[in-house]
């Protein structure tokens, strides 16, 4: 029994320590001319952050669409591109960012791409002209994509002052500074 109590106490202390190191969630919203800006990628510069652990993310092809339309990943992340349509798709990115052409593959199968350099990749399908998506690879663990209300949450950010960046489809990259504090929100209002 004593051993169990010691173990639980140690676990509790460890959890508290990890929480203190990680810091609070950064919540906020993105607006332009007062209107919410969904699908805006927001990230905080963190050049000394720990290396990324291997992560696997899915960018689905379904109903002749990429889902999600905008995806943010940390550099080094491998993204799965499953085809969940009865028709063939041919995903490619030629313009900038990670350049690749996955070729055609049928329903129920997938191909993978590792986004190993930072930057924006514009994805299209060579068979369906209205299919388009964006993958923003960022060299930081602190990033998020705004939801339909233009709000976002970046989890567990250590308290400090950061340079933040934003990008949204059709827009350019904007930047500012923000000090992370427990009850402070990052409200971004773009012109």
């Amino acid at each position: 029994m004593r051993a169990i109590v010691i173990a639980l106490t140690a676990l509790s202390a460890l959890t508290a320590a990890i929480s203190a190191v990680d810091g609070p969630d950064v919540r906020g919203s993105v607006r332009a001319n007062g209107r919410p800006q969904p699908n805006t990628v927001v990230w905080l510069e963190a050049p000394h952050a720990a290396p990324a652990s291997a992560a696997k993310i899915v960018l689905d092809q379904r109903n002749l669409s990429f889902y999600p339309h905008v995806l943010a990943v940390r550099v080094g992340t491998t993204v799965d591109f499953p085809n969940n349509d009865r028709v063939f798709h041919n995903v490619f990115s030629f313009r900038d960012g990670k350049r690749f052409d996955l070729g055609m593959y049928p329903i129920g199968t997938l191909r993978r791409v590792t986004f190993d350099t930072p930057g924006l990749s514009r994805l299209f399908c060579n068979i369906h002209p209205n299919m388009a998506a964006y993958v923003m690879a960022v060299d930081t663990p602190y990033f998020s994509v705004a939801d339909t209300q233009g709000t976002f949450t970046i989890p567990a950010v250590p308290p400090a002052t950061y340079t933040y960046h934003t990008w949204r489809p059709g827009g350019t990259i904007a930047a500012g500074t923000f000090s992370v504090d427990h009850d402070k929100q990052l409200e971004i209002d773009e012109p």
Partner: protein, 334 residues
């Protein structure tokens, strides 16, 4: 009337879609204008809606209108994926459900859909860079038609690397070649390995010509192949069969599409094809055609297509050489 009813059902289902579903219903439209040195101009538009429904169903409905101005009926330009009959027509209108338990794949589709023989989807022809259907898939050339549609049900089963799709229904064609009513069946087996995708198809259906002239059933078997690597896509189809008793048709087409990073928005295309229609004299016909061209993505929603072709034979009345040009504007609303 049955088609209109099917469309109403599908569109009603689209309209009742909830934003809480995995993907909302999407509506998109394409408008194409074109000109060919065969002395014809063309204008076409398609509107389609598709998305997720309750119970895991997915739906798609598409309507098309297209017209061609020409001094005579001498060209087969612009008929790559749609008829040019100068009236609004319902193309596909179906619901489907797919299951992916473990490594297996099972699904069904019901409604009005393109005849699942060989390379048959809209995307394979409407945005391929070619402005004409392959000879073996053009209305009235004694083989199959890209405007063949089914009213029926289709089942697919297997694993992603090897599955069978089988359809049972009745012809519901649009365009100039409309098959006679009756029951028809189509079966296609598809295998996938690395960059290779191979299909084998078989159809038993009704001829599209009057019974007094075309007796018996129309039966075709075909093999289709796709290969992609490094921005190069090769696809093609070979088929053989009888359009009706006492005749036979054999043909093929091989397409190459090249889209390498250095080419930016340009996709280069090449097609070689042949069709032989064997019947008692003087009805036998043949044609061979080569097409070179490009599809250029000018803007996000605007693309241009240019084709230059040379043909020989007596199957078609088109000029020996032709230049086809088209601009397509596509927009997606959600």
């Amino acid at each position: 009337m049955r088609t209109a009813a099917a469309l109403v059902v599908v569109l009603t289902a689209c309209g009742s879609s909830s934003p809480a579903l995995a993907q909302p219903v999407t509506v998109e439209a394409d408008v194409t204008g074109g000109y060919t040195s065969d002395d014809a101009g063309a204008l076409a538009t398609q509107v389609r809606a598709f998305g997720d429904m309750p119970l895991g169903l997915r739906v798609l409905a598409e309507a098309a209108w297209a017209a061609r101005s020409e001094t005579d009926e001498s060209t087969d330009a612009f008929g790559a994926a749609y008829p040019y009959g100068n009236r609004v027509q319902i193309m596909e209108a179906y619901a489907e459900r797919l299951f992916h338990p473990g490594p297996t794949l099972v699904g069904f589709r019901a409604g009005r859909y393109r005849t699942p023989f060989g390379i048959y989807t809209r995307g394979d022809y409407a945005y391929s860079g070619f402005l004409r259907a392959p000879l073996i898939r053009y209305d009235g050339y004694f083989a199959l038609s890209n405007n063949f549609l089914e009213h029926g049900a289709e089942l697919i089963a297997g694993i992603p690397q090897l599955y069978i799709e089988t359809s049972l229904g009745a012809p519901a064609d649009v365009g100039d070649s409309v098959r006679r009513s009756g029951v028809d069946s189509v079966t296609r087996v598809q295998g996938y390995y690395g960059p290779w995708i191979v299909g084998v198809s078989h159809i038993r259906t009704q001829p599209y010509m009057p019974e007094r002239f075309a007796r018996g059933r129309s039966v075709f078997t075909g093999v289709d192949l796709r290969w992609t690597a490094g921005g190069v896509q090769v696809s093609g189809e070979w088929l053989t069969g009888r359009p009706f008793d006492g005749t036979s048709a054999t043909g093929w087409h091989a397409d190459v599409m090249v889209h390498r990073p250095v080419m930016g928005p340009v996709t280069a295309v090449w097609r070689s094809e042949q069709l032989d229609y064997d019947a008692s004299a003087p009805y036998a016909r043949w044609a061979r055609r080569h097409t070179a061209g490009a599809r250029v993505r000018l803007l996000r929603n605007l693309s241009a297509q240019v084709n230059v072709l040379h043909q020989s034979g007596d199957l078609t009345d088109a000029y020996r050489n032709a230049l086809d040009l088209a601009l397509t504007y596509s927009i997606r609303l959600r």
